[in-house]
């Protein structure tokens, strides 16, 4: 730019000197200073723009066309590769989501199975609709076989969890007589007995009440009275310590068929 301005200033005093000087002198006041300021601004703008262009040019201008084409193709290759990566990652994500879903389903079904087994084993308290069988026995006339019959009847009618005087009946439970006293799993049973059973209350109550059924058998003893109530909500306690097995061991999975 300075190359083009130089000849002008050289020429200005020569060419425009005689005619321009007088006019300029007349107007040379605020306006002249303003013009000079405008020139300062112009110079400043020129340099600013040139420097900005230079900064930009340092990156792109020095590259020749082939180089730019190469850079472009590199960039598009890179973009293609990244696009592929995105696709494959999306697929992986989808697979993970699927397997997570499957896993969640498996966990849910296992959890349901576990809670069923827990109820069956008596390690957790259980609640639900059921019946309360109350047996009055002021003379101690009850025998284990009567109680076994009653429990058998309950289970036959669909009872899922049973307790006698707050003792949970489990797979290894047994009624017995020790020292002339009725015991359940070595714990004495005091009359009156309260037998709670979770199950279809109407069916269970009906099964107990059939002629010659459990109620009749119990009441065949002179002093024993038994009555059944159907309840919306029965809570059966857990067995505090499940029995530990000494002799039985599970058959290894590979030996099963």
């Amino acid at each position: 730019m300075t190359e083009t301005t130089e000849p002008r200033t050289d020429a200005a005093p020569d060419g425009g000197g005689q005619t321009g000087d007088g006019a300029a002198r007349r107007g040379r006041s605020g306006l002249g200073i303003a013009s000079a300021l405008a020139c300062v601004v112009l110079g400043f703008l020129l340099v600013a723009q040139l420097q900005a262009t230079e900064e930009l040019g340092e990156r792109l201008d020095i590259e020749r066309e082939e180089d730019l084409a190469r850079i472009l193709s590199d960039l598009s290759t890179q973009s293609d590769r990244l696009q592929e990566e995105i696709t494959s990652l999306r697929l992986t994500l989808l697979a993970f989501e699927n397997s997570a879903e499957t896993e969640e389903l498996a966990v849910r079904s296992l959890r349901r199975r576990l809670s069923e087994l827990e109820i069956l084993a008596g390690t957790v308290p259980a609640e639900g609709q059921g019946v309360r069988l109350t047996v009055e026995d002021p003379q101690g006339e009850l025998t284990p076989d009567l109680l076994v019959d009653a429990v058998q009847e309950l289970r036959d009618a669909g009872a899922e969890a049973i307790s006698v005087n707050d003792i949970r009946l489990i797979a290894s439970s047994a009624f017995a007589v020790r020292n002339n006293r009725l015991v359940l799993d070595n714990q004495p049973l005091e009359a009156p007995l309260t037998i709670l059973a979770i199950g279809p209350s109407a069916t269970v109550a009906e099964a107990l009440a059939i002629p010659g059924g459990a109620l009749d058998s119990l009441q065949s003893r002179p002093q024993v009275t038994a009555r059944v109530e159907q309840l919306e909500q029965v809570t059966v306690p857990a067995r505090p310590e499940p029995p530990s097995f000494v002799f039985g061991e599970p058959v290894p999975a590979e030996a099963r068929e």
Binding site: T2, T5, E6, P7, R8, T9, A11, A12, P13, G15, G16, T19, G20, A23, A24, G27, R28, L31, G32, A34, S35, A36, L37, A38, C39, V40, V41, L42, G43, F44, L45, L46, V47, A48, Q49, Q51, A52
Partner: protein, 110 residues
Amino acid sequence: MIAFVALLIGAVIGLVIQPTIPAPLAPYLPVAVVASLDALFGAVRARLEGTFSDRIFLVSFLSNIVLAVFLVFLGDQLAVGDALETAVIVVFGVRIFQNLAGVRRRLFHA
């Protein structure tokens, strides 16, 4: 002479300050520069023809810049890309050449 010195002073200030142009203004500076160059060459021609006036120079300087920047801004707003910017550059480029032609006729009588 004063104008040339002022131009140099401005250039030196620019070199010393090393201004960084704020990004939103970046598209407007080139057209502003071209527009003011037109005013400058117009002033040189007027000076040579003896019709130079500070008032006209100032008015043309400012109006050129304002008009050029406004047209580029308008181009952005109308989403015509760089079309209006190109138009402004071309028009001012033609005018610069016309002014230079005037300068040339005065200096070399050709």
